[in-house]
Symmetry: C2
Subunit: 232 residues, 2 copies
């Protein structure tokens, strides 16, 4: 029985505990509209994605790298002809993104409240260190967690380090998150449990189309379903 095995439950944060990707997408749309004089919105978006992929190993995940990529894209798309006023606008967009309120997703706090006394709860998220810490503080959820792990990436090796650090065996570990690529597949590969909570919007870089057949995979419709699985 899974509920007798699990000791540590790790929660992804962005788009699992709170809204994130829609804010990025609003910012991206506003950015693309700034460049409509040069290229259609959809093509600017593709150019931005190219820039993000080119710089991913250098910048990592998070808003600051996203801002730098928007600026680089602005320059390229305009053939170095854009006014610096557009650069100012991009910086404003990025700074506003960093200061967005944190809106919890339905059921997030209820799930934490119900599981807190029976399991060690941790956050396992990637992104800018300071930004993720700030969002966690704003979320009001901090006290539910035993440990906060902000990771530079979420590949198998990164989870291996996390498990070592938490002194937890894979078979006692459950990860919950919205990204099949980052939250589910690497954890299953290590022999851990992974629960997928779909979110309506996923960044292209995180999209996976293959279906998963694995005994430790728990596809959920909503996060609160995990309570039944773990408490009944």
């Amino acid at each position: 029985m899974i509920k007798n095995q699990i000791q540590v439950i790790a929660f992804d944060a962005d788009d699992t505990l709170w809204v994130n990707e829609p804010y990025f997408q609003q910012t991206e749309l506003a950015f693309c509209q700034l460049l409509e004089a040069y290229l259609p919105v959809q093509e600017v978006s593709q150019e931005l994605f190219k820039t993000e992929m080119k710089n991913l190993t250098l910048y990592g995940y998070g808003v600051k790298g996203f801002m730098l990529c928007m600026i680089e894209t602005l320059s390229r798309v305009s053939n170095d002809s854009a006014s610096i006023l557009l650069v100012n606008k991009v910086i404003e967009l990025g700074q506003a993104l960093l200061q967005q309120p944190v809106n919890l997703l339905d059921g997030a706090e209820e799930v934490l409240r119900q599981l807190k006394s029976d399991f060690r709860l941790v956050v396992a998220t990637k992104g800018d260190l300071l930004d993720q810490e700030r969002k966690l503080r704003k979320s009001g959820l901090q006290n539910y967690f035993h440990h906060i792990e902000i990771m530079s990436d979420k590949q198998t090796g990164d989870y291996q380090k996390l498990l070592k650090h938490l002194d937890c065996n894979p078979e006692n570990f459950l990860m919950l998150g919205n990204s099949i690529k980052s939250d589910i597949l690497p954890v299953l590969e290590l022999g851990g449990y992974a629960a997928h909570i779909p979110y309506h919007t996923t960044w292209a870089h995180e999209q996976i189309t293959d279906s998963i057949a694995h005994p430790n995979f728990l596809p959920l419709n909503t996060m609160t379903e995990i309570i039944k699985i773990l408490k009944n």
Copy 2:
């Protein structure tokens, strides 16, 4: 005797284990020279510092925030008249800074080698998560450390969290670093030990001019002096 008390030794990384600030300063000088048509180098530098301080709570420490601050300063100093080609140059400077080789400081590896078997060694550094991880990997020093803590800031509360996380009492903790403000004062305040290793160059934000009189303060001339203190 301090050597009987210490269990965990934490090392600052930038300008303690390896060269950092001189690379930032070279980048800053190159940046200021880009703007010489608008303002003398020294004044551009002051404007950049103002921008950095304004954005510190938003961006935190690290190269990506520094890049964004250079771009913002460029725009302001030029009264929004600079060409976007200068923005491209700033991005090049920043990307080069992210790809600098890691040059170990004298004695760093020797100290780690000699202390590794008797103490739990950790890294306690601030900056961009991915960038600090990359430097640590490039340094070849990773295997000396039991734990790597990349902190969004190094104030008293941040060290408190670190100590809790390491399950270590302040009186069993020694921090080594080059910044009086970030590596020494907060640790002394908690009742820990702190050894200062001066570095010839310190960022203005980290400079402290008061002298320190505290029983747990160890002013060193070079890092290797700590070996005698802890092993004799």
